[in-house]
Symmetry: C2
Subunit: 204 residues, 2 copies
């Protein structure tokens, strides 16, 4: 069976960077935004629309958002279609070869593949600093604005997770390793992390 690593992560904690660097180190395929593109192809919906549906709030938690656009029934049915397409795309990826998948509830959807599930997190100050360094549009935001953005995105991720699972997003019990990146130079941690992961897969 292929080796699957899923990475769930708090916004700004460097989960994507860990995913990309680990994929290079381990010679695994890396999937992130590509998944949205594949779902778009699968459903015929636009990538932007899918991002909105799957990231910016979902039923029943997105009720307010959906209602405010008065498109609630359409929204709900599209959401289901996106979830189905997403599961299909994730399973296709898992069948292809060893891979690292960031986000998209892959820890849940690909459970039958025995993935190694990582959770990446950090304290708020560290996430704010990392956001400022990495993203042009976040350079001029105040700490308060960035903190609100981080909290909102993580809230959406938690809600999204609740739709596809009764396991709580971020509860350490649901992951094999939880990595706090506060004050850590991620690129220096990749080699020991990759070794840990290789041992983890060897155990089975």
């Amino acid at each position: 069976m292929n080796k699957i690593i899923t990475i769930s992560r708090e916004f700004g904690s460097g989960g994507r960077e860990i995913g990309k660097r680990l994929a290079d180190e381990l010679d695994f395929s890396y999937y992130d935004a590509e998944i949205i593109t594949s779902i778009a192809k699968e459903t015929g919906m636009s990538e932007e629309y899918i991002k909105n549906i799957s990231e910016k709030g979902m039923y029943p938690y997105a009720f307010h958002f959906a209602k405010s656009f008065a498109i609630y029934p359409v929204y709900q049915s599209n959401q289901t279609e996106v979830l189905v397409a997403e599961a299909k795309v994730l399973k296709q990826i898992a069948e292809k070869g060893d891979c690292i998948i960031v986000g998209r509830g892959a820890d849940i959807t690909l459970k039958e593949y025995g993935p190694m599930n990582l959770f990446v997190y950090a304290n708020m100050q560290s996430k704010i600093e990392r956001c400022r360094q990495k993203r042009q549009d976040e350079k001029d935001m105040t700490d308060k604005e960035l903190q609100n953005k981080i909290k909102q995105i993580d809230k959406n991720r938690r809600n999204y997770h609740r739709i596809i699972s009764n396991l709580e997003w971020g509860d350490k019990e649901n992951y094999h390793l939880c990595i706090n990146t506060s004050g850590v130079e991620i690129k220096e941690m990749i080699s020991p992390l990759a070794d840990y992961i290789e041992e983890w897969f060897r155990r089975k």
Copy 2:
């Protein structure tokens, strides 16, 4: 400043084994039961009594336990003495050299030393199996009995942590790395873990 690693752990998750093996690998001193001995020397109380006070339930959570022996005021004052002695002993240890300390709330008490705090956990089935393998007196206990024992000990650890800190025992935010040992061969994971830890200390 000396390098301090603290290990908090769920009962039966292999935290002590990780601690001992890491200490060998990193050439750090290892402290566990020795701390009780030192507190006993410090306070003049017996080791058994200190273990009872500090592990089997503490004020205010041990109120019921204490009351039932009708020694509540004595118990409470001894408990404070133990906490004070424990903090003193932990700081002496931290001053001596690089070390790994299992339990005793060292993550909290030694905060000023900038320790790397690990949390070791596992799923219930894995903890039950590990207990049966490691401890003679637990070989003949039923799953249910072992589960109750594990839950009770972890509850005491959580309560103990609440007395010395407002941070919650086991919340991943309070640790730098959380390691799930379910189905893992601990000795195989030590080398990459030690490398990760060495990188972590190098970053500062």
